[in-house]
Chain length 615, copies 2
Amino acid sequence: MYSVVKRLLIGTPLSSSELEGQRLTKRVALAVFGTDAIASTAFATQEILVVLVPAAGMAALDYLVPISLVVIALLVIVTASYRQTLYAYPSGGGSYIVSRENLGTGASLVAAGSLMVDYTLTVAVSIAAGAAAITSAVPSLRGDELQIGLALLALIAVANLRGVRESGRLFAPPTYTYIAIMTLLVVVGLFRVATGSLGRLPVDQEALAHFTGREAVLAGASSFLLLRAFSSGAVALSGVEAISNGIQAFRKPESRNAAITLTWVAFILGALFLGIAVLASHLRPTLRPDETLLSTMGHAVFGNGLLYIVLQASTAAILTLSANTAFADFPRLSGIVASDAFLPRQFANRGDRLVLSNGILVLMFAAASLLIAFGGEVSALIPLFAVGLFMSFTLSQSGMVVHHWRGRQPGWQGRLAVNAVGAFATGVVTVVVVLSKFTEGAWVPTIVIPLLVLLFWLIHRHYARVDRALACPPGTPLPDIVHTVVVLVPSRVHSGVLESLAYAKSLRPQYLHAVHVAFDQESAEGMLATWAEYRFDIELDVVSSPYRALTRPMLQYIDALDERWQHDTVTVIIPEFVVHRWWEALLHNQTALLLKARLLLRKGTVVTSVPTHID
Amino acid sequence: MYSVVKRLLIGTPLSSSELEGQRLTKRVALAVFGTDAIASTAFATQEILVVLVPAAGMAALDYLVPISLVVIALLVIVTASYRQTLYAYPSGGGSYIVSRENLGTGASLVAAGSLMVDYTLTVAVSIAAGAAAITSAVPSLRGDELQIGLALLALIAVANLRGVRESGRLFAPPTYTYIAIMTLLVVVGLFRVATGSLGRLPVDQEALAHFTGREAVLAGASSFLLLRAFSSGAVALSGVEAISNGIQAFRKPESRNAAITLTWVAFILGALFLGIAVLASHLRPTLRPDETLLSTMGHAVFGNGLLYIVLQASTAAILTLSANTAFADFPRLSGIVASDAFLPRQFANRGDRLVLSNGILVLMFAAASLLIAFGGEVSALIPLFAVGLFMSFTLSQSGMVVHHWRGRQPGWQGRLAVNAVGAFATGVVTVVVVLSKFTEGAWVPTIVIPLLVLLFWLIHRHYARVDRALACPPGTPLPDIVHTVVVLVPSRVHSGVLESLAYAKSLRPQYLHAVHVAFDQESAEGMLATWAEYRFDIELDVVSSPYRALTRPMLQYIDALDERWQHDTVTVIIPEFVVHRWWEALLHNQTALLLKARLLLRKGTVVTSVPTHID
């Protein structure tokens, strides 16, 4: 039953040797790893306005192009920086690996924690924005954003549990449709503005009052406010690092293909982001609480026809699928961290379909929790978003600076300069983001990331302790084993007990005992009488347990027995019923299971189950 | 943590030898086993009116005394009948035991099923009526009957998990208070009617319309309607059989003490039931949907003062505690049925406090389900109630007839006559109840009771099969054991593997193998190289598992090994990590557990865990 459902959802198992075959072409890779970066054009512009409009009213639109240009400058710096990484780390150079190689374990764990927080927020924000795109186009769904988001999340998780290649095939068409329709929106919009067939949109005073109502509208924007607006816009860079993590999924030559793809992604992202800002500054759309900025502009440029529907549908699709970038990278990262013994080993196990299933599941639950906690609202999640993102950028670029300095390959000075600029710029942005948005939510990642780092250390300490305890260099002699065998006899003598006794004798132990735990005098005497009848040449010890407990008297008995000899191994043989239907198991007391679990915790005790099958 | 909570709720464990000390005096026994019977006076009269008022309006009150007299006649017959049982079965003679001894297994299982349904409904009805008594007095709680009922249910269950004696001590005061205040209500009420200080109550037309609104009010009541009204009133007899089940809880001489107590219970029940009917026929209170009949009459006779409060409080208390009778008897019955191997053995195990904890828990969940399914409403539960009750009465009395006929002790003719009258009367009532209430809910027990009987048979068949499979008379020779030993080697060599190897060698097996399951070629070669380094004198077999499964390749390997020899025993030795903190267990793959569970299902396979402790 479980396996049928699993097969239907996940597909048939794939062999380990099929891993190599799952490589992606550049065009498919752009969709899989670039979707996140490109999709952020759907909400980043709006989030700048969400910060500015309450203070500056409609004048906020005047700041849109300048702020966007600063964000694009940052994008150029970061892209140049990351191209270096793709060539320096052809086997995959995410922030975690670059930090680990160059900055040491501590920094790498901060990077890992930052990235994990970042990926989770990428999923939550993309899906929340995708749901908003849907409800903008279909007003009757407004209010159900959270339910829509959770359904989309489940859909992506299942797609990813099925495997990488199918994800790419599924996700390329909407990504390219989105790029095309957005280009059309900007070009047609600006053309109509230039030809005079489209002018400024009328101001919607009611919608405006929704944002400006709470605070007095200031004459202009303060510089602190501009920093906050920039911090919101900077989330457009989310996803630029995705390719450096997923480099191994590219076809050979991986570095070159990845670098070309990265440049394309950055170009598309920057062009669309700037285009939207320019178009908005001409159309001057009013920010609305229940419709996205893109939808408002789409209505103005395309009307209500097919093109508008395509715009909203592909926006919703690319946003939903942008979460897919994180679903490709989070499990990969947690798999690497797990291989380094900083996360539970299960994160490094590949599932039936060769994907890292546990990472996918953890990401799904973490993102669902975030969506539920913040009511599925994009603007509430944005302040949490940029911290992890820019922290990991900074660590990655700093690591590259160290890398160039150490290696000093021909031309290292220029490369070092590129990465140093990148590290400095993203470092400054990290500080700006934390300070300008601290009370609005940026405090959450500043607490969660250190807690994750602590968790990594605790896990690592445990694995190290286990390794020390288990260490044995070649040549270590096998330990001596001295046998003492105890056979547990249940309330009566049956054929399973006979088998257990025969098995115990076949071990030729030094000492062999049979034990019965009696709850009252009557059953003790009854058992001794029965035992005598069978004339086994093994003595039966009866342990009295007036409080009807089984495990404690057994342990006391074994302790007493064990005290007679040093360094011996006690083997407890437990005759076990095995029934082959689950409901039959409910009809037996299952004391064997409890006893086995408890005996395993006792040192120097081997537990042997001799099963008797009933069918 | 679990055990601290358990101690606080349940108390410290009691020794098996303390069982004898838990006997009850007659006065306490009347409260423990009589509460159910006496408490039914709180709702039985009202339920007669619930049937009649929709058809007859206020004229329904004219039928109250005649119907009550018929019920009391039935009570006298059943009491006389049960006194015979108390003397004939001094060690406890519930319907199940009497049927088993005299009518055979089939009839006894029908009796057991009927009683279990009856006890569950006793709990549900009593608690629903108790909640109604509370909300009648405190109108602000109306609408919360179900929540109040579930809280009371949990309270009783915990009291019973603590043990019998404490239940009696807790429950005697409210029972005697109830008897006193009800007597006062009837005496004062009738006195005030006689002296003319209290006349007919005014008719509440609005409340009346609530009942009569749905059907046209007929001129009088049809005979079918009177049968239905009688069926509702007959639930007053619920609990009369309780003493015969609990006879072993009485002090010596048990039979005599139990018979005296039964007579007292029947007398108190009959007197109060008749008194209420007579008083109601004089006061003519209007039936109300949100206040009990007793509360309406209490207001009229006592006003709103202290006596009214005592009436409602003790009614609520005795009704809640009447459920306690079922909590004393249901586990006792299921324990006996379990000893006969018709219910899982766990029902016969005494818990820490010497009570049959599993029966208590099952009853609690069954009653809670009924309360929730029927919205905590008494009138909705009543049609289900009488079927099981009178079915078990009939079987018990019929069994006694056969008992007298077989034994033919001096004076058997008279005793047989008493039981024959009882069997006939209760048999007729069973038929009347099923027919007159079938569509209103009586169909539920007529389906559930046969299903329970089927379940009993299936369970019995399983235990019989196990007994046959395990049978071995004294003198059966011990089986021969030929050893083949397999040591499972995990992904690497560590000190736990060394211990397992040493242990395996100490068993001096015929054949010894080490096995490694490899997910790809690389790890297979790595493991073989490591193995060679250690120079163990045991060969390592590598099993390839391209789909990363562990258990299936292991089983195939063992099957292939096993085919070489007939009748041998394969011992699989599994090196197991044991970590002592729960969260540490999450950091390991726990494949050992899965493998152990799967290997246990394979015939002729012994599973041995060699633990390595990490701390």
